[in-house]
């Protein structure tokens, strides 16, 4: 240790011997209360070791006398949240769908609940903003395969489509090519006819009369006269600007050749009734609801 006998000539007190640009540091003793407080905090830390989980062991850790864990705290908080919600969700359970939508407080609750549940359960297919994707309907627009009233939306959520549930929506886009119903040139023709229904351009030399005939013979049964669709069967409206799988010729040929049968799962039993109600109101309030 280097010895130093430095004193500050102004105050006559000893210094640490450290000096920066002529400024020296006084060696002032710490106040006793400060030192004692410091020691007290050290003792306090030992208390923590006893009370809370602290030391890792070979397999596990010291649990502490409180047996506190973050996970348990979160679980308890979530349980508390559920009981708190229970009261409010009860109100959703008893009100009708229309009543929920017309009561600002219930609507806000349903939308809040719907949004979180949507994110957990529906977003993987429909997207976090319900904007959909190829083969997965956009729930923001006003085009509905199975109907867009509150009740219809709720029914679709509850039982699904082609979900295997006894009350699910059933309806098939048949595979006209794979099953040999239509030849490939007929498929091309009818695909172009379908494009013409919503004012899209058609292939050169395509025979509209032939297309109309093929359509009348094979498609009208489900898609209706003029291709307006049929919500009973989930048959798409072929005259509007919204296409679930795409409106280009190649996609249409594929659709007609191989058919389509997207599945909407049934949520009954997976979500409780008032949550399903909240979901229906939420989806309806996205803006496309009828």
């Amino acid at each position: 240790m280097s010895q130093h006998n430095d004193t500050d000539h102004i105050s006559g007190r000893s210094t640490t011997g450290h000096e920066w640009d002529g400024i020296e540091e006084l060696n002032t003793p710490l106040p006793r209360w400060w030192v004692l407080t410091f020691y007290a905090t050290i003792i306090w830390a030992f208390g923590y070791w006893v009370v809370y989980p602290a030391w890792p062991l070979v397999s596990g850790y010291t649990a502490g006398v409180l047996h506190y864990t973050n996970r348990a705290a979160v679980t308890a908080n979530l349980a508390q949240l559920e009981t708190m919600r229970g009261e409010k969700m009860k109100a959703l359970g008893t009100a009708s769908l229309a009543e929920i939508e017309n009561d600002p407080a219930l609507l806000a609750l349903a939308r809040a609940r719907g949004k979180t549940v949507f994110g957990d359960n529906c977003a993987p297919c429909h997207g976090s903003g319900a904007a959909g994707a190829k083969g997965y309907p956009n729930l923001n627009d006003d085009d509905w395969l199975w109907g867009g009233t509150l009740e219809q939306i709720m029914q679709t959520i509850q039982f699904g489509a082609r979900s295997g549930h006894a009350r699910a929506h059933e309806g098939q886009m048949l595979a006209f090519g794979k099953d040999g119903v239509l030849k490939s040139d007929e498929i091309v023709t009818v695909a172009n006819y379908v494009r013409s229904l919503s004012g899209l351009s058609t292939r050169k030399g395509y025979d509209a009369a032939k297309g109309e005939k093929i359509f009348a013979d094979n498609c009208v049964a489900c898609h209706g006269d003029g291709g307006k669709g049929n919500q009973e069967l989930g048959a798409a409206n072929l005259t509007d600007k919204i296409w679930l799988y795409g409106s280009d010729e190649a996609t249409l040929i594929e659709t007609i050749s191989n058919g389509r049968a997207g599945v909407m799962p049934a949520w009954e039993g997976r979500l409780d009734p008032s949550t399903i109600k909240a979901m229906a109101v939420y989806v309806h309030s996205l803006g496309g609801g009828k």
Binding site: H4, P29, P31, W34, L107, G127, N237, D240, K241, G287
Partner: protein
């Protein structure tokens, strides 16, 4: 290092002080005079405001709290007489903090650590606690003597009484604190009948403990070791600032009254300081002002009063210790007249800044809108194509009604040509101009859909403006966003 080192050397050698030192107990003496009177006055004012303000009533009409100053945390409202602030307007507090900083700068440029000496809560409460100590245990000498002597029953009784009064004051301080956060008369009743929420008792406990410890026991230690202000304020002073100063040019060399008179009779110079130590005896931080400006001096002016009382008695001029600047010390030694310059560039700039912030805040307060609108565009999806080919954008509109009554407003949209507006959950009789009711003193959040027909020549994004109009009062607020096409 192969040499054996003694523990003494490890501690730094012989000349070193111990690692820590106990608090030196100080016994400030009672003093009377100008600055003591100012301090009593300010103490009465500050404590009066602190303890009584929550009890003041202020009528705000039906359904609103009638407490003049109330921090309503559950409802997120701050009431101050005729002002009501929402959490969105937290910038008023920013303004107050800026104002406080500039005021502190100005105080320092004019009169040194005025804040520390007169207005700081630590100073005010410590002063009060010292007053209690003097009242129960006697003045400085009595206390020193008692501390040196044995612990008698009488002395124990006096100390117990002191501690009891301290605790009562501390408890009352904590009690006053919580009254700012809830309706005071109700809370007082609830506290007395043990019906109040636990959090109230907890905070009273915390504030009682902190007041008792800081004002009763830590005292000057707070200024010397805990508080950053002394360090900061050292940087805020300059050679023109009036600081509590011992005029050593007049006071030195120190000599007795008798010797001084003899010297002066012979026409020789003698210092006015008689080394009576009164300035040290009255000092609440226990320093000797005659050592010059120092961290421990809170510039409360009590030593000025003490010294003046002595000077009066020995017939010498007042203010041997007084508020003085560094310039005058040099001027007096060279025989020039004293100068004071409260108005100089530094103080003018500070004052101008204070005035400016005040003006901005006042303007903000006077033009504060009581109807407000915020808009948030849907981010996913940004735009929706409808089956007929039109484009729809979704927005979340937040309406702020800061008035004390419900009101009906109409919502208009100026955006792309023939834009249609629809508010989710609102069936309005006027579909082009939906009307909604805003609850009083609350925010309302609604989802609003704007639909416009689409053609390829449309701009990718266009401005859209939402306007809301109070049907009754004609107040208007608006917010702008964008209308996006896919």
């Amino acid at each position: 290092m192969t040499k054996n080192v003694t523990s003494k050397e490890l501690m730094g050698g012989d000349d070193d002080l111990p690692l820590y030192a106990p608090q030196k107990k100080i016994y400030p003496q009672r003093v009377s005079g100008t600055f003591r009177r100012i301090k009593w006055g300010l103490m009465a004012l500050c404590l009066g405001v602190y303890y009584l303000l929550p009890l003041l009533r202020w009528n705000r009409g039906l359904g609103a709290p009638d407490q003049a100053v109330l921090i309503d945390l559950p409802n997120e409202r701050f009431y101050f007489f005729f002002i009501e602030l929402w959490p969105q307007e937290v910038y008023y507090f920013t303004g107050l903090l800026i104002l406080a900083a500039f005021t502190l700068f100005l105080m320092n440029a004019l009169g040194g650590r005025t804040w520390c000496g007169y207005l700081c809560p630590q100073t005010v409460w410590t002063d009060l606690f010292y007053a209690v100590e003097r009242w129960t245990e006697g003045d400085r000498r009595a206390r020193i003597k008692a501390d040196a002597g044995p612990l008698t029953a009488a002395r124990l009784a006096r100390r117990a009484l002191k501690q009891a009064i301290w605790l009562i004051i501390a408890w009352w301080t904590g009690g006053a604190w919580v009254l700012y956060f809830s309706d005071a008369p109700t809370l007082v009743k609830d506290l007395a009948t043990f019906q109040a929420p636990a959090i109230a008792y907890i905070w009273i406990g915390i504030l009682t403990a902190s007041t008792y410890l800081l004002a009763g026991h830590a005292r000057e230690q707070v200024c010397l070791y805990m508080c950053p202000w002394p360090r900061i304020q050292a940087a805020l002073t300059d050679e023109w600032a009036l600081n509590v100063t011992y005029k050593y040019d007049r006071g030195e060399p120190r000599c007795s009254v008798k010797k001084g008179r003899a010297q002066r009779a012979l026409g020789e110079t003698a210092g006015d300081c008689v080394d009576c130590n009164q300035c040290v005896a009255v000092c609440p931080t226990g320093i000797d002002i005659r050592n010059g400006a120092q961290l421990g001096c809170i510039q409360c002016g009590l030593c000025i009063d003490a010294c003046d009382n002595v000077m009066k008695r020995i017939g010498r001029p007042m203010r041997l210790i007084g508020y003085d600047n560094d310039i005058n010390v040099q001027r007096r030694t060279s025989g020039k007249a004293e100068v004071f310059r409260p108005v100089r560039s530094r103080t003018v700039v500070y004052a101008a800044l204070i005035a400016m912030v005040c003006a901005v805040m006042l303007h903000a307060l006077l033009t504060r809108s009581l109807l407000d609108l915020n808009v948030l565009h849907d981010r996913n999806p940004v735009a929706v194509k409808l089956s007929a080919g039109a484009i729809r954008n979704g927005y979340t509109l937040r309406f702020l009604n800061k008035r004390g009554f419900d009101r009906v407003i109409a919502v208009d949209v100026d955006g792309p040509a023939n834009a249609q507006i629809h508010i989710v959950g609102v069936d309005s009789v006027t579909p082009d101009r939906p009307m909604i009711v805003l609850a009083r003193d609350a925010t309302t959040e609604l989802r609003v859909l704007v639909t416009a027909s689409f053609d390829e020549t449309m701009e990718k994004t266009q401005p859209v403006k939402f306007r809301i109009t109070d049907i009754g009062l004609g107040e208007v607020a608006s917010a702008t966003d964008h209308f996006v096409t896919p």
